[in-house]
């Protein structure tokens, strides 16, 4: 983790007003404009003093973390293994409740509503998740996406109803052109990168407001990783994205804001470039410079 790629040309929300005049949009180079526009989105998710404790553990896995997640930006959670970043992510759609003995304090607000007051199936449709391991179901490509859309355990709606929605989800995930000729192929025959994009298509099919990604590229080769990072850039315009990654270069490439966690504590939260070039906390500096990991 010693070498970083050249910094990405991007300006984060907090730096914007000083750098460019928003009224002269036409003068802004395209990549910056792309980064600018969504950064003004409203706050979709607020993590408010969240602590998560696993039964039998001396220390909480996540300790009183407060973070905002805004529409149109990518929040990258970084930190060494066991720092609680994945646990925090899994608490956002209450998936952490599946782990026996896990308890949570603090509040998580989705568009101002406490997620504990939302019906869990509705919450998970609005806050959809991509996992570390591509995990398509052992069904056809079509059925994988259609399963996400179908109502709970009811009789399947007709293909005529599903087909356009499946197509649009696959298009948004950038997979359509590769699979359009045979949607009935078993999903498990796809390559790892394609499987992960299928999982993204599946997650997008339920039309979520927030997309959670748990190290989505760690099982993939560099080319597939590049494709998915490109996809994250595109999706960011319509979604709030929280991504957990142990890959600092990736956090720097895709994140608009970065939160650094260590042993359950939120150490630092800042616009990406600021956190990487001018960290305030010593521990952050040591971590991003590769002194420990």
């Amino acid at each position: 983790m010693a070498e970083f790629p050249p910094p990405v040309r991007r300006i984060s929300a907090d730096g914007v007003p000083n750098v460019v005049d928003p009224s002269s949009r036409d003068a802004i180079p395209e990549p910056i404009a792309r980064a600018l526009a969504p950064s003004y989105g409203p706050e979709r998710l607020r993590i408010d003093g969240v602590s998560i404790h696993y039964a039998g553990a001396a220390k909480p896995a996540v300790n009183a973390v407060t973070l905002p997640v805004r529409q149109g930006e990518v929040l990258a959670l970084i930190g060494p293994s066991g720092c609680g970043k994945t646990t925090l992510l899994r608490s956002l759609n209450r998936l952490v409740e599946l782990t026996p003995g896990a308890t949570r304090d603090g509040r998580i607000l989705l568009d101002g509503e406490d997620v504990d007051h939302l019906e869990i199936t509705r919450l998970r449709r609005r806050v959809s998740m991509i996992f570390q391991q591509p995990n398509p179901f052992p069904m056809s490509i079509f059925d994988n996406v259609a399963y996400a859309i179908r109502e709970q355990a009811m009789r399947r709606p007709g293909k005529a109803v599903l087909a356009p929605r499946v197509e649009s989800a696959l298009r948004r995930a950038g997979l359509w052109d590769e699979v359009a000729d045979d949607l009935n192929r078993p999903a498990l025959r796809l390559s790892g990168g394609q499987q992960q994009r299928l999982c993204i298509a599946r997650a997008l099919a339920v039309e979520p407001h927030v997309l959670l990604m748990d190290e989505p590229c760690s099982a993939l080769d560099p080319i597939s990783t590049g494709v998915i990072e490109e996809l994250i850039h595109e999706l960011r315009e319509t979604l709030a994205i929280v991504i957990v990654t142990h890959n600092l270069a990736q956090a720097r490439r895709v994140g608009d804001h970065v939160a650094f966690m260590y042993l359950g504590d939120l150490v630092e939260y800042a616009p990406t470039e600021e956190l990487f070039t001018n960290p305030r906390a010593d521990r952050t500096r040591d971590y991003v410079q590769g002194a420990f990991g």
Partner: protein, 327 residues
Amino acid sequence: MSVPGTTGPGATPPGRRQRLLGELRLWRPLDLAGVAAAWLVGLLLVLVAGTLLLYMGYKGLQYVNLDLLVSRPQPGSDQSQTGGILDPIVGTLLIIVIATAIALPLAVGAALWIVEYGRPRWLARVVESGIEVIAGAPSIAIAIFGLAIFQLPLFGWASFAADGGGVFGRSFIAAGTVMSLIALPSIFATTREALQSVPRHVREASYGLGKTRWATIRRVLLPTVRPDIATGTALGMGRIAGDTAIIVLLLGATLQLQAGSDIPGVGTLQGTGSTLTSYVYNNSPTGEGNAPEKAYAAAFVLMLLIIGLNLLVAFIGRRRAGNDLPR
């Protein structure tokens, strides 16, 4: 078309045998003896199985003919007058259908409950060990217990009750129901193991899409483990087809299917009959029928049925290999 002088891919490279022998010479004597013993035992088992099959095939083919398969058994003191084995064949199939129809939903339901819910935990443990006890119990013990149950006045409808209130307790319903206990453990075990080996991330993928537990079970888990359920079911059917004790005690031991009441269809289920196993038992030289030729023929048909079920298991196993989950 092979050209003279070229070596095909299947040809043994020269000297390979010598090299193998040279390698064996390096082995320790105890290891050599162990390998030799393993080979010997293996060959012996193949020999036993082969002899059994050949003998049954020889005897069976000698006596099996179409007429035997489609005519009904008759009482008689001479083998030429005792008819065919149609009723035992129908009886066997009937018992398989009844027992599987009862065991399959129970076993799959129990496995789903234990793996996917498992609460309260003490009850899950009790159910699991209960099924293990059934799996280990001798079928004759299960049979005598089943007879005690089905002779209760409560179950008078399942067979027939005499005027004085005594219940016969022997019928296809009684035998099939008790026989379901024979198939239940194998269906339960294969289903439970298959569910346990479905990786956690597959379930989480479904829950992460806002699916309920039940939708996940129905749309993701059950389709995933379907081949395993089929395997367990085929194995269970084999055990049902081969069990004798429950049939002897609970099917009433009439050669022909005898209706237990006048209701069409249901009457047969309430009635008595025989299966291939009880037919073989009765007609073996130790049984009362003493028609060994017919017994051999019936045993051959029974073996074909069970070999067929085993082939079905292998076929299901092979088919799933291509479409498996990453574990």
